[in-house]
């Protein structure tokens, strides 16, 4: 029963993610694309939960769904007249893009099925990861952690510099 529940939730979340991705890849309306992306982000967050990554799922929801998506919507709204609903997302070279992505997808799937993955058996039990991640960030991964905060600082500065109006 539990296994069935697991499988069912996987399919639901995967369907969410893929449907969102498909819409945001193919829709002609930019606003639709952005909102479909929300679906994908939530689906992927669900998959994270199934992968025993609860903290990551929370981060995904907060940062992607809450942060990046808002930024994207801002981008759409700032660069188009808001009334202009028919914001078109034009395509170039659809054929080439489709052929290349299609072939790549086929290749990937073939390889995924062909490679004998050395999967752990049995899988580690589900356990909360937040504490472990926190400890790691203040231990072994202290330097990358601090470095990433430095990068974020630079990003803030860079974004402010880029977007400000030139005062001459």
């Amino acid at each position: 029963m539990e296994a069935l529940f697991h499988v069912a939730t996987f399919y639901v979340f995967a369907a969410f993610a893929l449907a969102g991705a498909a819409i945001s890849a193919f829709s002609r309306r930019l606003v639709y694309c952005v909102f479909a992306l929300l679906l994908t982000f939530l689906g992927v967050a669900g998959l994270y939960v199934l992968l025993s990554a609860d903290f990551l799922a929370a981060v995904q929801v907060l940062l992607y769904a809450g942060g990046i998506l808002v930024l994207l919507i801002f981008g759409v709204m700032l660069t188009h007249e808001i009334a202009d609903v028919s914001t078109e997302a034009n395509f170039t070279d659809i054929k080439f893009g489709a052929v290349i992505s299609g072939i790549l997808w086929l290749l990937l799937v073939v390889y995924i099925c062909k490679v004998p993955w050395a999967v752990l058996d049995p899988l580690p039990p589900y356990a909360p990861t937040t504490r472990a991640i926190g400890l790691q960030f203040l231990g072994d991964y202290l330097v990358p952690f601090e470095y990433s905060s430095f990068v974020l600082l630079l990003v803030v500065l860079g974004a402010a510099t880029l977007a400000r109006k030139e005062v001459d």
Partner: protein, 103 residues
């Protein structure tokens, strides 16, 4: 009922990636490009987390996934800033029209 294994996650990630790739290859609108890039990053992250769950240590993969999310956030912020700057200068965000290398 077959339990959900590594393959399933990898296939989902591969599909996400290819959708993202298609987006990046075909969109002329730069926000569309960013959407594609975000999709691809998500696919990569899903892969990393899935691998770390099924092979190797789970915490490590999640930590790097968090790093990638930080990267994606920074990139989106910079992208938006650039977008605004470009829009102010060119009054468009169509990547083809701002290709100044042309001709």
């Amino acid at each position: 009922m077959i339990p959900i294994g590594l393959h399933a996650y990898l296939v989902v990630a591969a599909s996400l990636f290819c959708f993202g790739l298609f987006c990046v290859l075909t969109r002329r609108n730069s926000i569309g490009l960013l959407i594609g890039i975000e999709l691809m990053l998500n696919a990569g992250n899903l892969n990393v987390v899935a691998f770390s769950r099924f092979i190797g240590s789970p915490i490590e993969g999640q930590i790097w996934a968090i790093m990638v999310i930080i990267l994606a956030a920074s990139e989106a912020v910079i992208f938006l800033a650039l977008l605004i700057a470009i829009y102010q200068n060119f009054n468009t965000i169509d990547v083809d029209e701002i290709a100044m290398l042309k001709e």
